[in-house]
Amino acid sequence: MRRALKMVVDPVSCAGEGLCAELFPERITLDPWGYPIVSDEPLTPQLMEHARRAVDMCPHLAIHVMDAPVRVPTPTRRGGDGPGPEPTRAEARIVAQLRGGGPRR
């Protein structure tokens, strides 16, 4: 399965004020109760600036970016169903920054 950068909201920490939807409208909308719905689409390098803004500004530190398998079928370079490309180095660096520290573990 293809791996890509994905944004997730920790629903336990999230208090639903909806700030993130203003900061990152490209991927976040709000449900009828004001809680964020994050699109399943993987993050692209162009979106990282806004993604980062949302991660940093969430008052409850509820937003995370992680490297995860994605359901959205994206053609791999080989066109097969292989593991798919690893995140680029630029992407990996951004994730490390977003996590607020070095790489996990």
Partner: protein, 443 residues
């Protein structure tokens, strides 16, 4: 396939095709099988063999978890082992699901088989800690069983018995991990750090359902080949089922995977005359029509081909005397109350679903906004820290499909007389009736 030193079936082994396996030798009524009787019946585990060979053997056995998700056991062990530190093993006996009684039955009647599974897991993975997480009514007896084992040196690590609080979600994996650490037994958001890598006290943690561990104990004794003599290629072995709704009350029974469900449940082609629908997988599961039910066999794959799930092995047959919408509304209200109340979409979404379903089931002039049901279900799915709301969505969506004509009738002319009938679906605290066979033990 890995090549392993296959466990040769010892002379004392039960015939591989014989049923039941886990429930072997249990009489319909009776107490717990004590340690002496247990060792006579099953022999002692060879922990030295277990340490070196159980993991590949489990891989070959194809055993999947019995806690609800049918996740391959060997794959879970692999990630726990890969985390590289001494793990904690948790025997999950919480069984929060009101329509399930199999874990309590195993723990009350054949506790040493379940504890053997925990011991085998602890030995094979080099665990530093073993915990039995069980409801209060089982903990004293289990503590005594653990004590007897300790005196005979049967467990590689002493097993602590900790109490699982009552409630639907206290047995969810991360809730169990929290409970074991003395925190409120509610789920955590674990998407970023799986329990298998960082669970109890930050250590890798293996959480298994009680029944899963009992099957592990059999693989540890008789090997993968023996284990695979029953069941199907993808769903090998046997499973316990808690079946309720039939005359005589709930029963826990064991059957081989792949057996036609009509045979397992003893249903004839005229079953539609007795039952108006069936619930598979409990309150986080799916309703199916009786016709669908009669076409399924006992396996997660077969259930999934009809968009259903067996969950933790639960079948509830619903007779014609009940109002299905009243039953559904009561369960949704119960499930709403069982939410840990931590996640916005779960709290608000289940409350909204509850309101619509109460209106649909009980209001004289039903102006329930049934169109909202689908939308609400989509809004809660995948949006909690745990899968509790997903289960409710599955339960409600499938109920609306199976009982579509009742939905239409309620909208047209309000509830019929059946709406006042007492609840057929069980809730905790309500005493489950018992009957012959191996009776479901009430809690």
């Amino acid at each position: 396939m890995t090549t392993t030193m296959h466990r040769e079936v010892t002379s004392g082994a039960p015939h591989p095709a014989a049923l039941p396996r886990l429930l072997r030798g249990l009489r319909p009524e009776g107490g717990a099988v004590g340690l002496g009787e247990h060792l006579e019946r099953w022999g002692a585990l060879d922990l030295r063999w277990v340490r070196h060979h159980l993991q590949p053997e489990l891989e070959d056995s194809g055993l999947r978890g019995h806690g609800g998700a049918a996740f391959p056991v060997a794959a879970k062990w692999r990630s726990v082992a890969a985390a590289g530190r001494r793990p904690t093993v948790i025997l999950n006996g919480a069984e929060g699901e009101p329509a399930s009684a199999k874990d309590a039955l195993l723990l009350a009647r054949t506790p040493h088989l379940v504890l053997d599974g925990a011991a085998a897991a602890a030995a094979a993975l080099g665990a530093g800690r073993g915990v039995a997480y069980v409801p209060r009514h089982l903990s004293d007896a289990l503590l005594a069983a653990v004590g007897a084992r300790q005196r005979h040196g049967l467990d590689p690590v002493p097993v602590e018995v900790l109490e699982a609080p009552p409630g639907f979600i206290s047995g969810q994996e991360s809730a169990a991990v929290n409970g074991v650490q003395g925190r409120p037994a509610v789920p955590s958001f674990i998407e970023i750090r799986p329990i298998r890598e960082r669970g109890v006290d930050g250590r890798p943690t293996l959480v298994h359902n009680a029944e899963t561990l009992a099957h592990v104990a059999l693989v540890a004794r008789y090997g993968a080949r023996w284990f695979r003599a029953l069941g199907t290629e993808r769903n090998p072995g046997t499973t316990l089922l808690t079946v309720s709704g039939r005359p005589g009350g709930p029963v826990v029974q064991e059957a081989a995977f792949g057996t036609p469900l009509r045979e397992v449940l003893g249903l004839g082609p005229d079953a539609t005359r007795s039952y108006q629908g069936a619930l598979l997988g409990g309150y986080g599961g799916t309703w199916v029509t009786i016709d669908t039910l009669l076409g399924l066999d006992l396996s997660e794959d077969s259930a999934r081909s009809s968009s259903a799930t067996l969950g933790a092995g639960i079948v509830v047959l619903l007779g014609h005397d009940a109002c299905p919408l009243a039953e559904v509304a009561r369960v949704v209200r119960y499930m709403e109350g069982e939410s840990a109340g931590q996640c916005g979409p779960c709290v608000h979404g289940l409350a909204a679903l509850d309101e619509v379903l109460q209106g649909l089931a009980f209001a004289r002039q039903s102006r329930a906004n049934v169109e909202a049901i689908g939308e609400l279900c989509a809004l809660v799915e995948g949006r909690g820290a745990c899968r509790h709301p997903d289960g409710v969505a599955r339960f409600v969506t499938s109920a609306c499909a199976v009982f579509a004509s009742e939905v239409a009738a309620h909208l047209r002319s309000g509830p019929c007389r059946r709406v006042g009938a007492p609840s057929e679906l069980p809730f905790r605290g309500r005493v489950l009736r018992r009957q012959g066979g191996v009776a479901a033990r009430p809690r």
